[in-house]
Structures are given as C-alpha cells and as structure tokens.
C-alpha cells in the first residue's frame, strides 16, 4: 500500500483528461489517470493504494470516468479535506469509498495507514498517530456496502 498525495482543487480533467473519454471501461481509463499532471501515477499505482488530498477533490465535470479510472487503478479509498459534490456522489454510487478528513498535512506519501471506516478512524502506523473523521450518513454507508447504487437498488427490489 502506498499513499498518493495531491493538493487542492484536483479537477476531473486532471484525473482523466477529456481526450480519453471515448471509453467507460475502468481498466482502460486507469491507464490515463493523471496522465497530464502526474504521468508516473498510472505506471506505479497498485491495488490497495490510497489517495490523500486537500479540498474540493474531483471538481469540474460530472464524468464518472474519473472515479472509475481511480477504481480501475486499484485505489481503495480517497481521503480529502472536501470533495466536489458530483465526484462525491459518483464515487459512492459506483462503490469507491471516500473519507472526508483534513489529514493531508499529517500524512506523508511513505506512511503506512490503516482505515477503520465503521469507527471513523485513520491510523498512521508510521507516525503512530490516529485521526478521527465523521463517518458517512447511514444511507451512503449502505450504498457503499452494497457495492454502489445499482446493486443497492437491486437488493431493495428483491
């Protein structure tokens, strides 16, 4: 597991530039994730990695391709001071976990962290620190646990 750190206002054009929007496939999109601003990301990212960012992560377009690209890249959680709201909804609706926590200054890229989503706790094993966060509203937790909106609706229907 490694941490990828980003600053404020990471927009969807940075996450996945518009020229690659001709597919919706998560794995195919992942190859171009952050290709304009951080080309090494797509090369080195591994299953289980976590993004830690500043405020307004995912601002800009409604392209679900952005959270899909991160899911396809193997990112298991994005932690940010705040999220742009369409990105926030998209991520939850496709089952990409998000944590709203102001920890970008506390966590370094080489740190090892562990998440306890139910208790709302981020443990920094490297620095031996813990940071708490407000868990998502129950409804959104249910969406995530179901694996996203579609699976949630299906489960409701049966």
């Amino acid at each position: 597991m490694r941490i990828w750190k980003f600053g404020d206002n990471v927009d969807t054009d940075q996450i996945i530039p518009a020229e690659f929007l001709t597919t919706g496939d998560a794995k195919a999109l992942a190859v171009h994730a952050f290709s304009k601003v951080r080309p090494e990301f797509a090369v080195a990212v591994q299953e289980g990695d976590i993004i830690v960012a500043g405020s307004n992560f995912g601002c800009g377009s409604s392209r679900e391709h952005a959270p899909r690209a991160l899911l396809g890249a193997g990112i298991t959680c994005v932690i940010a001071r705040s999220f742009a709201r369409i990105f926030f909804r998209n991520a939850i609706n496709i089952g990409l976990p998000l944590i709203e926590a102001d920890v970008v200054d506390q966590i370094d890229e080489k740190d090892q962290i562990e998440l306890d989503v139910d208790r709302g706790l981020i443990e920094n094993l490297t620095k031996q620190e813990a940071y708490s966060f407000q868990p998502l509203p129950l409804f959104m937790q249910q969406l995530l646990k179901s694996g996203g909106l579609i699976k949630y609706i299906k489960a409701q229907q049966t």
Binding site: N9, D11, D13, Q14, P17, A18, E19, L21, T22, T23, G24, K36, V37, S55, N56, C59, G60, S61, S62, R63, E64, H65, P67, R68, S82, A84, R85, I86, R89, N90, N93, I94, P137, F139, G148, L149, I150, I153, K154
Partner: protein, 420 residues
C-alpha cells in the same frame, strides 16, 4: 420558511411539504439528460441492471454534442453506440448533429427546462436550468442509469446561499462578469454541497441568456444548483415552447433560511477575466497585459444569440480579428446558428476574419475544433480554465464574456471593450 431547493425537493419527494437541508430524500425526476460522453456508460449500466421495458423513455433526453462531428474513430464508435441505444429504447427525445446542439441549450430551447422542475443530467453544467427556476444538477452515468430505470434518484437536500446583486451594470458587463466576480470572491469551493439563489435588481434586469450564464457556472463554485426565481421573462420565453405544465416555486425569503447571504453592488463589477488555472483567479480585464493566440466564442455558457450579437457589434468593419489571433465562433445550437445567419451576424464574423462552425462542445473541453498547442493562450467565453482544459497541459485559458473575447480578438491581447 424554506428555500426554493427545499421546496422543489420536498414536492418531488411527495412529502406534500418542503424538505429540510441535510435530509436525504428520494425524488421523482422530470427529465434525465445524457450526452455522447456520458450516455454510453449510462446505457451500459442500465442494461446490466434494468429490464428493458422498465426504461422511463419519456423522461430520457439524449444529445450528441461533445465529440460531434466525430473527431476520430473512437468518438465515431461512441456516437454510434449512443445512437444504437437511443433506437433500441425508442428514445423520442434524441438529438442528432444538425438537429440540436449543445445539450444544455437544447434542454432550454426545446422546453424541457421549466420552473419548479427537477432535472438531472449526466453533465456538470446541467445546473444551467436554474436560470428558469428549475432545480437541475449534474450527475454521473450510474445515477442517470438508475433514474432511467426507476424515474427517481436520491438527493441530500442542500443548504442554500443567497446572492443579492443590486444596481446598474457598467457598459460591457454581462452575466458572465457577475458570476466570475462572485466565484472570485467566494472561491471554487465557496458553494460546495450548497444550492445558490440569486436576487437583486441587477439580476432582474438581465436577459434570460445572461441568467443562464450565471446558473451555468454555479458548479464552478462547487454548488449543486444555482437558481434564479422565475419572472415574466422566463414565462414569455416558455410560451409555445415548454413541454407540459409547470408551476413556479419561490422561496419565502426569510434571512434565517439561508446558510449565508452575500451582497454585491453591480456598479463595482468590471469586465472580469478568470486567469488560469481555476475560475476563482479573477482580475479586471483592464488590469491584464496578456497576448493571446486564440479567441473562442461559444459553449453552453456564452454561445447564445445574445452573445453573438454583442461580439458582432464589436467586430463590425473596418475592425478585424488581429493578424496573430485565430478567432473561433461556435453557436450553442442549430437554432442559434440559423438565427445568427438570418441576422447577418455570421457574415460579420466571416468578414472580420473569424472561423465559424456549427454547434458542438468541441474546443470547450479540448476535444476538437480548436485545441491549443503547447504554450498557447486562449481567451474564451467558456466556463473552465483548468490545466489542459482546451489542449496541451502548458496552454492557458482565460475566461471572459463575449465582449471581452471579441475586443481581445481585435487587439491581440486581453482587452476591456471600453478601451476600444
């Protein structure tokens, strides 16, 4: 004592009363719009999910706009896939190139957007229809698919911020300057998770077109939607155009209903430019000394007939586009294009040395028809100036109103039209 957003969401949730900020509600949506970028993934999700007959076809609007005319084989395949889905599901509200335009302009011109409606679109600038008093917001493809299948979607009811702009606007100051000024003040996350409402004498005096520009850019401050209480201008526009009935919704207007109230004096807003790489990076046009390579007039933000008229008035002979500048003009819809031809505006543009083409998103998102090379600068009437938004990551986009773009095209550097 609710806000417009709380009233519309409460009504659409079938509560018989307003919803409260913070509540999570499931609402009936009036329309679901998808385009050629977001539509194919939406239909794919729908197919993996819904029984074919469940599609709420009368609510679905499909518009080809982002990469049409197709720029390459991949985008042609995408457009074809979308067309195939539209046929398979007998989508009547399907807009082919040449018979529509940019999705938001189509939604407004063709009577989908109306006061009191709840409209979602798989495009972030769906918030534009707030200019007509709708609660409209951008969603992702999965949500669009869910709404296609069920006709409903979940919403977290937002808190509302109120923006009051009073007074008379200075010459060449437009809706674009008002919204850039506000974003410059509150920042690109200033309205995160919030709804915006706009009031004041300056807003009342604006044309519907300028109000659409304002609502269009609500998302650039992070807002879920930006709503302007509908008035006679809206009702007149909708006559003979709107589909079905609608009922306007107004706030009760108590100060305590709003999370925050911002007040501005219209007279203090100059022609404003947002410099790279965030829309909050604003400055008066007259304070900038920036040479440009390209001037772009178009998009769902400022590609309407009113915008073209403003630009054409400035580009009258003997004025011409500067030798070192390419000016690209893209009407927002086929209707706007035809109207511009009828009014002689296109002739003016061509005579001035501008390039004009039919409606498409095209260069606005760095797709095609005006992509920027490394190091190039563009002054643009669009809504985003992110890194690489219109092309190379080392190109720059300066956001401005149509008058500033036209004036800059003439002088070759960013120019306040009052200086011409």
């Amino acid at each position: 004592m609710p806000t417009i957003a709380e009233k519309i969401l409460g009504e659409k949730a079938g509560k018989g009363k307003a919803a409260r900020a913070g509540e999570i509600v499931e609402c009936d949506v009036d329309y679901v719009m998808v385009n050629d970028v977001t539509g194919v993934p939406a239909f794919e999700v729908f197919e993996a999910f819904g029984p074919e007959q469940s599609i709420k076809r009368e609510k679905v609007v499909v518009v080809q706009d982002h990469y049409v005319p197709n720029k390459d084989v991949a985008s042609a395949e995408q457009a074809k896939a979308l067309r195939t889905y539209a046929r398979r599901y007998k989508i009547a509200h399907y807009y082919e190139i040449g018979r529509g335009g940019i999705c938001h302009q189509v939604m407004i011109e063709d009577g989908f957007a109306a006061p009191g409606r709840l409209i979602i679109g798989a495009d972030s600038h769906t918030c534009s229809y707030g200019a007509l008093g709708a609660f409209s917001t951008g969603v992702g493809s999965t949500e669009a698919a869910a709404a296609m299948a069920t006709g409903t979607l979940w919403f977290k009811v937002p808190e509302t911020q109120k923006f009051v702009v009073d007074g008379a606007l200075q010459p060449f100051v437009m809706g674009k300057d008002i919204i850039l000024h506000i974003i410059g003040d509150i920042g690109v996350s200033g309205s995160l998770y919030r709804a915006q409402e706009f009031y004041g004498t300056a807003i009342e005096q604006l044309s519907l077109s300028d109000r659409i520009t304002i609502a269009n850019m609500a998302i650039e401050a992070g807002a879920k939607t930006g709503i302007i209480p509908p008035d006679e201008k809206v009702f007149t526009f909708l006559k003979g155009r709107v589909r079905g009935e609608y009922s306007p919704v107004y706030a009760d207007g108590h100060r305590e209903d709003y999370e925050k109230i911002y007040e501005y004096d219209a007279a203090e807003i100059p022609p404003t430019v947002a410099r790279p790489f965030v829309p909050e990076n604003t400055a008066p046009a007259r304070d900038l000394d920036v040479t440009i390579d390209q001037a772009y007039l178009g998009s769902c933000t400022n590609g309407r007939i009113e915008d073209l008229r403003v630009a054409a008035a400035l580009l009258q002979a003997p004025r011409r586009v500067h030798d070192d500048v390419r000016m690209i003009i893209v009407p927002a819809s086929d209707r706007v294009f035809q109207q511009a031809i009828a009014e002689g505006l296109i002739q003016t543009f061509l005579a001035a040395g501008a390039f004009v083409c039919g409606p498409t998103c095209g260069a606005c998102l760095g797709g095609h028809m005006g992509v920027l090379a490394k190091g190039e600068r563009c002054v643009s009437t669009t809504n985003r100036n992110f890194i690489g938004r219109m092309g190379h990551k080392d190109s720059e986009v300066y956001l401005a109103n149509p008058a500033v773009v036209a004036a800059s095209a003439i002088t070759g550097r960013i120019t306040d039209p009052n200086e011409l």
